[in-house]
Each structure stands twice: as C-alpha cells, then as structure tokens.
C-alpha cells in the first residue's frame, strides 16, 4: 500500500446530476475511495 498521510484538499466538486458539494461531504463517517478514470464519463 502506498500511503501519503496528508490532508486531502476540500475542494468544491460537481456531481453527474449537476449539483455541487464540498469533497469533505463525501468522506464523512466513511473512507472515501476516489477512483480516477481515464474516460470522459
């Protein structure tokens, strides 16, 4: 496992339904697994 142990940036992101939220809203009470794709989707 590669571990960074740095604070994640809490940036504003846009979801596929067009709504916006802070990234931190996605890691509340869970471990967020961000999967960065090579696709446009």
């Amino acid at each position: 496992m590669t571990s960074s142990k740095v604070k994640a940036p809490d940036v504003s992101v846009m979801l596929a339904d067009g709504s916006r939220l802070q990234l931190s809203a996605l890691w509340q009470n869970t471990t967020l697994v961000l999967v960065f794709l090579r696709h446009l989707g």
């Binding site: 846009m14 979801l15 794709l37 090579r38 446009l40």
Partner: protein, 133 residues
C-alpha cells in the same frame, strides 16, 4: 461488479468515480455502463491536479508494455476509437479517511493499470484496523 462493490462497502469504503467529462458525458457513461456509483465531473481535471494523479509521458504510448497491451486488446476483438479528452491521463485510486487524511493511493503505471478489488479491500482493512487500533 455488484458483489465487489458490496465487499468494498462492507470493508468501510464509499466508491466515488471521477471522470474527465461534462455532466452530459457523465450521464451518458452512467447509462451506457449501468454505473451504480456516484460520479464527479471534472472536465478541467482540477481534481486530478489537486491529487497529483499522474499523466503518461509523451513517449509512453511507444513503450513495450503499452504496445503489447494494445496487441493483446486487438487480439480480443477490441478496436481503437478516436482519442477523446486527455489521452495521457493515467488512472488512479485515492482513499481518504473520515478525518480527511489521504491513507492510500495507487497510481496507474499505464492506462490499463488498476488495483484489483482484493487490493482495495486489503487497503480498507488496513485503514480500519489502524483507526481502531
């Protein structure tokens, strides 16, 4: 895939995809592949840069491993479509715990390099055991 999603969720993970397309492109992708995960639209690749997700070198397409993977894909019947978006962008996975700390990252060595579900579940188990301990 549903079984793997459930296993990852059971291990304490919440999967969110990040794509380089617009809202319309993301919705088309979700419908075409019946994607069951939330998806972030990042057409400017702002989030990719924030997390320093790597891009392939200009010569990367000519590396022996890439050429072999291309031949193997064509042998399986896949064809090459027109390139769209940032063709040099590599995939990656980043795990952020409930405190907002990056606990794990996997940087794809080439466009087809992804961690297995088992690798992700092991990483989540390690994160959870660290949090408990």
């Amino acid at each position: 895939m549903r079984h793997e999603q459930q296993a990852i969720e059971n291990a304490g993970g919440r999967i969110v995809l990040v794509g380089m397309g617009s809202v319309d492109q993301a919705q088309a992708f979700i419908q075409r592949f019946e994607v069951a995960f939330p998806m972030i639209c990042d057409p400017d690749q702002h989030l990719y840069r924030e997390f320093a997700v790597e891009r392939m070198s200009p010569m990367g397409f000519l590396s022996p491993s890439m050429v072999l993977r291309g031949i193997a894909a064509m042998a399986q019947g896949h064809t090459m479509g027109l390139p769209e978006g940032d063709v040099r962008q590599l995939p990656g996975v980043i795990m952020i715990d409930g405190e907002g700390i990056v606990q794990y990252r996997y940087d794809g060595a080439d466009p087809a390099d992804h961690p297995s579900p088992q690798t992700l579940i092991a990483a989540l188990d390690a994160i959870r055991s660290t949090a408990v301990g």
